[in-house]
């Protein structure tokens, strides 16, 4: 049976958010396809990990538990994953677009010659007709992603090669437990049979993981700045407004590239996807690259000088004016009116 398989990454020993989000989406895609949802976890000391995955509707959890897999390394992980995929022949394989998934995914897809689409913002099932050969492919995975700096949205399909592979950023898909009592099957992977000695040539000398300091994903209110803010110094007023409203500061890719804000604050396809109650876009033009990461916000306020900025078309409120004038007024009237 050709199933759908999700590579589950661990974050300090627990399944990473992005993996649980993929399992949630994977469950619904598997329902559409009428196939099983499987998960694969690699690591060391994974006793009981399957119990954290089953509630997402996972039918089979493959576990590779071995000290050599304690920390992610390209080669041993590639060997285990490709070994498993060759054995199980999944029709679809999903991974998080994390530093791990973006290192592992291309390596695996190249070995299996299967094709991979990075940073998808949407995954659907549908048919694909090729007029040249008059062939209709049934039930392919539509891998939908902005491309070309976010100026177009492309739907990619993978008609002839399996698995159809895609990576998705954290926060893009929703995470939802299917049934807390759901029990699937646990299968242990014979790690030693997949790993070759040369896979261990690259050694980790030192690792230094930092706790997540800025967490814009869970912020209820986000005050976000774009290239139109002009400078890092001008971002100070965004921090002030965010702190008054009890929110966080976000930034567009252009603002991050220009050094106005750190990468951990980047909202958009190549940053974080957010769904706050209120999103205030300051000096942001609103390329799809950015809007893909925030268009599901409850309310959107756009503040900018450009009456035809794309962001204005998705905003609930558009304030046409200078950010430097409007923000102090927002702070002033909030303080005056809030109880």
């Amino acid at each position: 049976m050709n199933n759908l398989i999700v590579f589950c990454e661990l974050d300090e020993g627990r399944p990473a958010d992005v993996s649980l989000e993929l399992l949630t989406r994977g469950r619904s895609l598997a329902n559409t396809l009428g196939c099983r949802l499987e998960a694969v976890v690699l690591g060391s000391g994974l006793e009981g990990i399957e119990n954290e995955l089953f509630p997402y509707g996972v039918d089979v959890v493959h576990v590779a538990d071995d000290p050599v897999l304690e920390h992610y390394r390209t080669m041993p992980y590639t060997s285990v994953i490709t070994g498993l995929f060759r054995q199980e022949k999944p029709q679809i394989a999903l991974m998080g677009a994390t530093s791990t998934g973006r290192d592992l995914g291309p390596r695996v897809s190249s070995l299996l010659h299967s094709g991979l689409t990075a940073d998808c913002t949407s995954l659907e099932i549908g048919d694909h007709y090729v007029s040249k050969t008059d062939t209709t492919y049934k039930n392919l995975l539509y891998q939908i992603r902005p491309a070309f700096g976010g100026n177009i949205i492309a739907t990619i399909v993978n008609p002839d090669h399996r698995p159809q592979m895609a990576t998705v950023r954290e926060g893009v898909m929703k995470r939802e437990i299917a049934d807390k009592n759901y029990r699937g099957e646990l299968r242990k992977i014979d790690v030693a049979s997949f790993i070759r000695p040369e896979d261990l040539a690259v050694e980790i000398i030192e690792r230094h993981m930092e706790a997540r300091k800025v967490d814009i994903k869970s912020a209820r209110i986000i005050v976000s700045g774009g290239y139109g803010m002009g400078s890092k110094e001008n971002f100070a007023m965004l921090y002030e407004l965010a702190s008054v409203l009890g929110g966080e500061v976000g930034a567009s890719r252009a603002a991050v590239d220009a050094g106005f804000a750190g990468h951990e604050r980047q909202v958009g396809q190549t940053g974080v996807t957010v769904r706050p109650k209120l999103y205030i876009a300051c000096g942001i033009s609103g390329q799809i690259q950015h809007t893909a990461g925030m268009n599901q916000s409850g309310k959107i306020i756009a503040i900018n000088n450009d009456p035809v900025a794309p962001i204005n078309t998705i905003a609930d409120y558009v304030i046409n004016g200078d950010v430097a004038t409007v923000i102090p007024k927002l702070i002033k009237y909030y303080k005056a009116n809030a109880r």
Binding site: R102, L116, A118, A154, E203, R207, H208, G286, I319, D322
Partner: protein, 287 residues
């Protein structure tokens, strides 16, 4: 390490960071002609890493390898101005339409012919943002890969590489041969060197000399020819290139037409801002 040969993978990309309203044609395709073509930013970080190794050790050579249309020779010159020793342009109609896998296949064959000890490229190109070509070239070569590098140096015959991960830093030790991809957080590339600009200004590929009539002067001014390879030079199987060699197919391209909401238009006047704040407070969006 003394005497090693480094290949730097580089791509000429449209500057997607500065896209104007005329960047899209009426039919929804990209109007490449109005976008300036630039040296992919992270490939410049990669070049800098290679040049630093070249400075630190004896007899190291740095060769720039790029795949693209004839005009991509521009970034080979750009690399030479900054200190690369030579460059190869991989260009052929048969490469057109290649996805990352077909691209990696061609690049890996070219790398094999150049026979380096170390391949360094940028993490990703700004036109696709996939970060797939580096790891896929490594896999096609059967070499290990180290991605997101920020700093590297040799200890004995092992390359010690500091990697920038999304939540931290990792240092690894890797033997050669190896493919490394470099992060944008690595040091910026050095500037052009005036002496090298003079030396390579008129360096051209054969095709450039044939096609650019305005460049006839260049032929007389410089004897430096840039290497140009096609499908046959790297012994590629045409079936594995272009559309036929690409497992991923573009089903549909959509120009971005955002679904317009009914927005309330406000000015920056005190009255407008205050009424907005009151409205948000009343429906408990804020406060």
């Amino acid at each position: 390490m003394n005497g090693i040969k480094i290949v730097v993978l580089a791509k000429q990309v449209p500057d997607t960071r500065n896209v104007g309203p005329d960047a899209m044609k009426a039919d929804g395709t990209v109007n490449r002609s109005v976008l300036p073509a630039i040296f992919n930013p992270e490939d410049l970080n990669a070049l800098e890493q290679a040049l630093r190794i070249k400075e630190r050790y004896e007899g190291v050579t740095v060769t720039l390898l790029t795949m693209g249309p004839v005009r991509a020779a521009e970034i080979i010159r750009e690399g030479l101005y900054r200190g690369a020793d030579d460059g190869v342009l991989l260009t052929d109609r048969a490469f057109a339409g290649s996805d990352t896998l077909a691209t990696s296949y061609a690049l890996a064959l070219a790398v094999r012919r150049l026979a380096p000890d170390l391949v360094i490229g940028g993490r990703q190109a700004i036109d696709g943002d996939t970060a797939q070509v580096g790891p896929q070239v490594a896999e096609k070569l059967g070499w290990p890969q180290v991605t997101y590098a920020e700093e590297m140096h040799f200890e004995g015959d092992k390359l010690i590489i500091r990697r920038r991960l999304e939540r931290g830093v990792e240092t690894v030790s890797a033997p050669l041969p190896l493919v490394v991809t470099v992060n944008g957080t690595a040091p910026a590339c050095r500037y052009r060197n005036a002496r090298l600009v003079m030396k390579y200004k008129y360096a051209r590929t054969d095709t450039e000399l044939q096609t650019e009539s305005s460049d006839y002067i260049a032929a007389g001014r410089s004897s430096i020819r840039l290497t140009e390879w096609g499908v046959d030079a790297i012994g590629a199987d045409r079936e594995q290139l272009g559309l036929s060699g690409s497992p991923t197919k573009v089903k549909e391209i959509e120009n971005i037409i955002l679904q317009a909401k009914e927005s309330k238009r406000l000015t920056s006047s005190d009255a407008d801002v205050e009424s907005l704040v009151r409205e948000l407070l009343e429906d408990h969006t804020i406060g």
